[in-house]
């Protein structure tokens, strides 16, 4: 037997299965937190910032300043922190389901733009965020929502900063390669529309004429590829649906392919006529194949099935898309 003094001395001095934490992973998570807060605070679609110091700046300018500050001030500073060579917490060869279950958190990347929007006073919200939280709840995990610009999703997924992403687009259109997709949780239609006074009544009627599409959207690729009919349209790219609508109104183009507008939105604009459109796009959650995501994706599929069968997915869709249920493909609705 030993005495207390010696015991206490040894308890204080001897190693007890300790190791230094990997600061790289903590850096990344704090940086992501700052990015998320910067994005959610300053990416309004219709609101504006109220800071006196920023009163003279437009929302977009303020957003750019915030992101630049986050990237140029905080990012480099974090990069100067001491690094410790130790095991990181990135998902690697281990089963992704096991990783997220151990963590108790599933990190889901969603885009800051459509189908999300900034609700004044409540921050960023939207259909993907609603579904992400529901999926987390059904899996018994906390969903950590990470706001990521669509064109950065591939890199952030590959870096292990998120477990899955909701690109709300076809993965290959965003450069998301070597990924595994869940079952679709909603189905998105784009529409080729013309002014109500136009003589065009079909897609073919716009052959050889200028048609607008949103830059970076799949509508551009559809038009460029001949609109599925071998047509040769002159593609005019604009940054948003509103900009395309303005181009149509000014006569600059004879038609446009919608990106974020729903059929409900178009119904509120009786001056427009739908003459066709690209095939329906099925939208899914996406994980990097290298993270061994099959088991997690199967669980997500089950969660989506459950959300669809109990009507939750329909309700969420109707709540966010002007009463439309986009949870099923058009042919089955």
């Amino acid at each position: 037997m030993t005495d207390f003094d010696d015991l206490e001395r040894r308890l204080r001095s001897e190693s007890a299965d300790e190791r230094r934490l990997g600061l790289d992973a903590l850096d990344r998570r704090m940086t992501a937190e700052i990015d998320t807060r910067a994005a959610s605070a300053t990416l309004p679609r219709s609101g504006r910032l109220t800071s006196p110091g920023l009163a003279g700046l437009g929302g977009l300018t303020a957003a750019v300043i915030a992101i630049v500050l986050a990237v140029t001030v905080v990012g480099p500073w974090l990069a100067t922190l001491p690094r410790v060579a130790t095991q990181t917490t990135q998902p690697s060869a281990s089963d992704l389901l096991e990783t997220v279950t151990d963590r108790g958190v599933i990190r889901i990347g969603v885009r800051p733009d459509h189908p999300q929007l900034d609700v004044p006073g409540a921050g960023l919200s939207g259909f993907d965020i609603d579904v992400a939280n529901e999926i987390g709840r059904r899996l018994g995990l906390r969903a950590e929502i990470v706001i990521i610009a669509a064109d950065e999703m591939g890199g952030r997924l590959e870096a292990g900063e998120v477990d899955v992403v909701m690109p709300s687009a076809t993965p290959d259109g965003l450069g998301l390669v070597d990924v595994v997709e869940s079952r679709p949780y909603y189905f998105w239609d784009r529409y080729l529309v013309v002014d109500g006074t136009s003589s065009a009544t079909s897609v073919a009627d716009l052959d050889g004429r200028p048609v607008c599409a949103v830059a970076g959207d799949a509508g551009v690729a559809w038009l460029t590829a001949g609109a599925g009919q071998g047509l040769s349209m002159s593609v005019v790219q604009r940054p948003s649906d509103d900009a395309c609508l303005a181009a149509l109104a000014s006569g600059e183009v004879d038609g446009l392919v919608t990106s974020a507008l729903t059929l409900a939105d178009l119904r509120s604009r009786p001056s427009l006529t739908v003459v066709g459109g690209p095939p329906t796009e099925a939208r899914s959650l996406t994980a990097a194949r290298r993270t061994d995501p099959d088991a997690l994706i199967r669980e997500i599929d089950r969660a989506i099935d459950a959300l669809r069968s109990d009507g939750s997915l329909s309700r969420l869709s109707q709540n966010r898309f002007g009463g439309l249920d986009l949870s099923s493909p058009p042919s089955s609705s």
Partner: protein, 180 residues
């Protein structure tokens, strides 16, 4: 439409740097002990590191949210304690994924030569709360008042757990080990 939240972009960035610096300093100085405590809470390897990092990240979020935290180190230990409890509950719900709940960490992790010789190899065979209390007292160097806050017990209870743990150790540690 006006967003009623007062948003000052410059202050977001500058305060973020300040908070990140404090959290990074905590991770640097107390990370090994946070990891060690997570191990005494029954988490193994990567799960222990993840939990320690999550506790630190939650501190960062709390600071960004403007929470007033008097003792950040105690706050992180308390958060880590709760995270580990939550993880145990989650694992109980998901049968078959893991078979390591609240047992001795040394029983599930392969003990290397060093840990077999360490006094902590004996501590890790003590009842769960005794080993956690001893760890917080002697490795994390927390006061009994703080230990009580972390574990949700009274200071007297924390002292009692530590005393029982020491008493057991005194009986179990061989004399030749004690003199090395």
């Amino acid at each position: 439409v006006t967003d009623p939240r007062p948003i000052v972009i410059g202050s977001i960035a500058s305060s973020s740097v300040e908070h990140a610096e404090r959290v990074a300093a905590l991770a640097e100085h107390h990370g090994p002990v946070l990891y060690g405590f997570a191990r005494r809470l029954g988490l193994a390897d990567e799960a222990a590191e993840d939990a320690a990092q999550e506790a630190l990240l939650r501190l960062f979020r709390a600071l960004l949210d403007g929470e007033s935290i008097a003792d950040e180190r105690a706050w992180v230990f308390r958060t880590l304690y709760r995270l580990a409890i939550d993880q145990h509950r989650l694992r109980k719900r998901i049968a078959g994924l893991r078979d390591r709940l609240v047992g001795s960490p040394t029983a599930e992790a392969p003990a290397d030569v060093d840990s077999r010789l360490s006094i902590w190899a004996y501590v890790d065979r003590l009842p769960e709360r005794q080993r956690q209390t001893l760890y917080l007292r002697y490795r994390a160097d927390l006061s009994f008042d703080t230990i009580a806050t972390v574990m949700g017990i009274s200071p007297g209870g924390a002292r009692g757990l530590a005393a029982k743990g020491l008493e057991r150790l005194r009986r179990q540690v061989p004399a030749d080990e004690a003199t090395r």
